[in-house]
């Protein structure tokens, strides 16, 4: 449908004329933009868990208005602290993060976020209002793999069809609202190659705005599916999955089921929907605001955890699964 715009825009091009405008937008004080993920049981070393700090600029400002460190648009002299809190919101541990020039982010390798734990982020930088954010790292999701069938060849280079099918049985916590993300990776250990795999699921839980580009009817086919427990809260939910292999030679694959915090899930939802061209009168959707949990700033401080199960036929010729 987007390519249809070529034809319609041709008509408008013929009929229209364009000029640059001197649009006056009220000047806002610059704020901090924080991108931070807390990954359970991962060290805060910039791989999966990190804090990136940038700044906001006026909508019409050029990109050289950002603060740069080397050529990366990040601030390197902010004071970044993460506090582990208890149920009474009291700080039980504090971590001061330092700027790392390898990842251009703030890290502290002594911090390893724990599941079911709440953390508070504070960022201070000269010339910007202080920002705060709170989020909880969800518990690692519990699930089993049942009715597994291997249908293809892991190590056949040109084969890219259905590799396996199985039931993913999610044991949902009835005491919480849960948000999930499912990925399947395939690995060539010797070649240090990891690729994500397509999979297919037919279930209404996968019919949501985050997945809509990959949904046909009630069938989701993609590599990065999101779902919530809205339709099966507190019960064991079984998803039948067809798993497809990309071309190449591999020796094992693993399933990664992630649990996301509510803030992180909703942030991902609104991030997907925001449309920069919202004022195009032909194909317009009203602009939306990114759902941020950062007070006085922008971005996300989001917790997530993952449970991985691998299928390694080379080492487990009896088709066993192991935690990964």
């Amino acid at each position: 449908m987007k390519r249809l715009s070529i034809l319609l825009c041709t008509f408008l091009f013929i009929a229209s004329c364009e000029e640059s405008l001197n649009v006056k937008i009220p000047v806002e004080n610059s704020k901090l933009s924080v991108t931070s993920y807390l990954h359970a049981d991962d060290y805060f070393d910039g791989q999966n868990s990190s804090v990136y700090v940038s700044n906001s600029i006026s909508a019409l400002a050029s990109t050289d208005s950002y603060v740069y460190t080397d050529s990366i648009p990040v601030i390197n002299n902010a004071t970044v602290s993460i506090y582990e809190t208890n149920a009474l919101q009291e700080n039980v541990a504090s971590y001061l993060l330092e700027f790392d020039y390898d990842c251009y982010c703030y890290i502290n390798t002594e911090l390893s976020p724990k599941q079911n734990t709440t953390y508070k982020l504070e960022v201070e930088a000269d010339g910007y209002p202080n920002v705060y954010a709170v989020d909880k790292v969800p518990a690692k999701p519990s699930y089993e793999i049942t009715n597994f069938e291997l249908l293809g060849y892991l190590d056949k280079k040109s084969y890219d069809g259905e590799l396996s099918q199985f039931n993913l049985v999610v044991n949902d916590d009835p005491n919480a609202q849960n948000f999930y993300q499912l990925k399947i990776y395939i690995v060539n250990t010797s070649g240090s190659k990891v690729r994500s795999c397509y999979y297919s699921i037919s279930d209404p839980s996968f019919l949501n705005s985050l997945n809509n580009n990959h949904v046909s009817g009630d069938n989701y086919t993609g590599r990065n599916g999101y779902f919530t427990d809205e339709l099966f809260n507190g019960t064991s939910k079984s998803f039948f999955i067809q798993h497809f292999k990309p071309k190449g030679v591999f020796d094992h694959f693993y399933i990664e089921l992630r649990a996301l915090s509510k803030d992180l899930y909703e942030f991902n939802e609104t991030k997907k929907e925001q449309n920069r061209d919202s004022n195009n009168p032909l194909f317009v959707s009203e602009p939306i605001f990114l759902d941020s949990n950062v007070e006085n700033g922008y971005g996300i401080f989001g917790g997530k955890s993952a449970s991985n199960k691998a299928y390694i036929p080379t080492y487990f010729p009896n088709n066993g699964w192991l935690l990964y």
């Binding site: 001197n22 937008i25 991108t35 809509n212 194909f283 939306i288 605001f289």
Partner: protein
């Protein structure tokens, strides 16, 4: 005679003069040349100054005092007719008026009084003669664009046919063509309306103080009467313009008994644009893409009129019109990746088809001089279809093998609304001071809001899916109404009505009792003040993302989860004519409150591939508020005629989950709206016209800040938006000029129309977007405004014989 007896005699004489017997004069107002009835003609008793207008059958009925009476009948574009009568009993007299299209001044002198005397507020009747001299886009006479020049009625974006009445949305206007509802009035993104002026006779627009016989929309009633065929002789009427051509043939099948009219209009923009598209394709580099397209629209109107007797007439009316857009894009690319060469070729065919089929069968019956019935059976359908057929081939060439990945994408999207209904309207002249209107209506709706059939065949497999985002809905809608127009005193008249509607969808019922009240008080014979109050319920909604008549604007019904919309409107007005009716003016204040509005949720639109139900994509329980002051001054006499209309207004919306629940300006909130329309008759064959419009800019939501989300060395840019519709684009203003050269020929009449749209080439804002560009490795953002129509001269040739 003593003093008491003198007083008594004097009293008796006085009473007798105030107690003169009233008699009724009734009959038809007919076009002398064609034999067709004239709707809205004015019949005035010149002694009392009281007057009436002929109804949609051309029938009038007026009460006069016994004795000598002078009745004057007038209608714009026709020579006045005067009857000198001696009235002793009820009388039946017809008026046959002769056309005099260019003597507007004489025709309209007496019309103004009815604006002063009528109890109805916010009503404007327009004839084609008044608007046909108004210069328009591409020289095409467009009725909808003409009414946008009236106070309280605004256009949306540049050049479009959508109209917004007193802060209401484009779906809140009930548009009737010979009694049948019209759901889509736009061709070509709304740049032209679906109403071919050659097939239209009269237009009436009601902005407030709605009569009880109307319902189902919140903001306005646009009642269009189709032209009837000539009852005397065959006529041909046509025109050739830059964008379209039209031809109309009408005449008697049986003189004075049966007539027929057939009118067609088609655009030839498809022929005109072909060389332009080739030029664009050849002049600009679209990379590996090649594109082609075709577009046309047409309208066909048919009307059959048969007079069964003096008291019975049957009309059959039919309209069909559609837009057809097709296009094709092809692409070929090749490259090298890792250890293989790749080739890609693909083609995509697009089709967009949308249109209306509208039909009505109408029976007008005169029981007697007091009771009149109009029965209409109607059908209306609007449908939209979008097809995309895409075939592609991806080939990977390895040293030892070649892999081929064909792909098929076959997408069909359909949406439709259909109505079948019946309406009965009774008019009963109960007493000289009472006219009762009553009746009812029933409509069966059929909604198919969206239906998708998708066939894909690629390396993920074959899939054939049918998706219905909303089940077909078949709601019922019915109403009954009663209205009493009562002359309380010589100065005070009231119209008291009740409209009761009931709506049923699945197991859900919505009903409402809607009072419709208006009063008119004559200050003197040249001025009056009016008050009105009306409540309305609207059981259908239009989901739209833009102001255009985009074909994928979807009509959806009220359901259990999405209730109807409601409005209350209060109007106060003052009408005056002066300088011996050479001028008429009015001032009207209105306040309108709307409840249960719906709109797309943030981030939602109907394009794209979000497969959730429409009910999940809207925000409900919205509130709307609009208020304003309308000033209208019209000159009717002399060589120079025209009007000035100014509206000062505000229109506001509020939804709990939009703009953080705060009130925000409606997209088409336009605090100032001014139209100056003038026509100067140089001589019988030459008429100049000049129109100038000014309006505050439309509101939009602009980003206020941009920021980055950085992770793993990748930075993505996002915008933070300001408050909804907090930015107002530049004001819109435009000057149009036109001249009509009319010449009588032996074979008939020809008219050359030369017009210039946007004389001083004002670059009015169409939309604003932000564009990134890079200069010396620094990325800048520039706000750009797109304007649509520059200065456009046009020529049109019209003929009739």
């Amino acid at each position: 005679m003593n003093l008491f007896r003198k007083i008594f005699v004097l009293f008796l004489i006085t009473q007798s003069s105030f107690s003169q017997e009233l008699h009724e004069i009734s009959g038809y107002v007919i076009d002398f040349e064609t034999g067709t009835p004239l709707v809205g003609a004015n019949v005035i008793d010149s002694d009392s100054g009281m007057g009436v207008t002929s109804n949609y059958n051309g029938y009038y009925s007026i009460n006069v005092n016994q004795g000598s009476v002078v009745l004057i009948c007038s209608f714009i574009g026709y020579t006045m007719d005067t009857l000198f009568l001696e009235i002793q009993t009820d009388l039946n007299r017809d008026f046959e008026l002769k056309t005099n299209a260019y003597n507007l001044s004489e025709v309209t002198v007496e019309d103004n009084r009815l604006n002063i005397e009528s109890t109805r507020t916010s009503v404007i009747s327009i004839s084609k003669e008044e608007i046909k001299n108004v210069p328009q886009l591409f020289g095409e006479m467009d009725l909808i664009k003409a009414i946008q020049l009236l106070p309280g009625i605004q256009s949306g974006n540049e050049g479009t046919s959508g109209f917004y009445v007193r802060g209401g949305g484009p779906d809140q206007n009930l548009i009737l063509l010979d009694g049948a509802p019209v759901y889509n009035t736009s061709h070509l993104l709304g740049f032209f309306s679906t109403f071919n002026e050659q097939a239209v006779s009269d237009i009436e627009i009601i902005k407030g103080g709605f009569p009880a016989e109307y319902g189902g929309r919140l903001s306005s009633i646009l009642d269009i009467t189709g032209k009837e065929g000539n009852m005397k002789e065959w006529k041909v009427n046509g025109g050739l313009g830059i964008i379209s051509g039209s031809l109309s043939v009408d005449g008697p099948i049986k003189k004075d008994t049966t007539s027929v009219l057939l009118s067609v209009r088609r655009t030839w923009i498809d022929q005109v644009s072909k060389p332009l598209l080739s030029l664009v394709q050849n002049s600009f580099d679209f990379g590996s893409l090649e594109a082609g397209g075709n577009y046309y629209f047409y309208d066909l109107n048919f009307k059959l009129v048969h007079k069964l007797s003096q008291k019975d007439q049957i009309n059959f009316s039919f309209y069909s019109g559609s837009d057809n857009f097709s296009g094709m894009v092809t692409e070929e690319e090749e490259g090298v990746d890792d250890d293989y060469n790749w080739y890609y070729n693909g083609s995509t065919n697009y089709g967009l088809l949308w249109g209306n089929i509208i039909s009505s069968l109408n029976w007008r019956h005169l029981f007697n001089d007091h009771l009149f019935l109009n029965t209409t059976l109607f059908y209306s359908q609007y449908a939209f279809e979008n097809k995309i057929l895409s075939n592609s081939d991806w080939i990977e060439e390895y040293p030892t093998e070649t892999s081929n990945y064909p792909s098929l994408y076959d997408y069909t999207y359909e949406s439709a609304i259909e109505d079948l209904g019946i309406r009965l309207n009774f008019i009963y002249d109960f007493k000289p001071k009472h006219q009762l209107n009553f009746g009812g209506s029933y409509i069966k709706h059929h909604f198919s809001p969206s239906f998708i059939d998708l066939i894909t065949d690629n390396d993920d497999g074959y899939s054939d899916t049918t998706m219905v985002f909303s089940n077909v809905k078949r709601p019922d809608e019915a109403f009954v109404y009663f209205e009493d127009q009562y002359t309380i005193t010589d100065r005070l008249t009231s119209s008291l009505g009740l409209h009761y509607s009931i709506y049923h969808e699945s197991s859900q019922f919505y009903n409402s009792l809607q009072p419709r009240v208006s009063f008119r008080y004559l200050l003197n014979e040249n001025s009056s003040i009016k008050l009105s109050y009306a409540t309305m319920q609207q059981n259908i909604h239009l989901l739209t993302n833009s102001s255009y008549g985009l074909p994928n604007d979807i009509w959806v019904p009220a359901t259990r989860d999405v209730p109807p919309q409601y409005s209350q409107q209060f109007v106060a007005g003052y009408n005056k004519s002066f300088n011996e009716n050479a001028f008429e003016g009015s001032v009207e204040f209105y306040y309108k409150k709307m409840d249960d509005l719906i709109t797309y949720a943030e981030g939602s639109n109907i394009l794209g591939t979000d497969f959730s139900s429409w009910e999940d994509r809207v925000e409900m329980n919205g509130l709307g508020k609009s208020y304003g002051l309308e000033l209208f001054l019209k000159k009717n006499k002399g060589k120079l005629t025209g009007w000035v209309g100014y509206t000062l207004s505000r229109s506001i919306r509020q939804f709990d989950r939009i703009n953080l629940g705060r009130e925000y300006p409606y997209k088409f909130d336009r605090p100032h709206d001014l139209s100056v329309v003038s026509s100067y008759k140089l001589n019988e064959g030459t008429i100049f016209s000049l129109t100038w419009v000014y309006g505050s800019g439309n509101t939009i939501t602009l980003p206020k800040e941009q920021y980055l989300l950085v992770s793993s060395g990748d930075a993505q840019q996002y915008y933070e938006y300001g408050a909804r519709n907090s930015y107002r684009m530049q004001a819109y203003h435009r000057l149009d000029f036109g001249v009509n050269f009319v010449k009588q020929k032996q074979w008939g009449e020809r008219t050359w129309t030369v017009s210039i749209y946007n004389v001083y080439n004002r670059r009015n804002p169409f939309f604003i977007y932000f564009e990134d560009f890079i200069d010396n490795n620094v990325e800048y953002v520039e706000a750009k405004q797109v304007s649509l129509f520059p200065i456009i001269p046009t020529v049109r040739y019209g003929f009739k014989f």
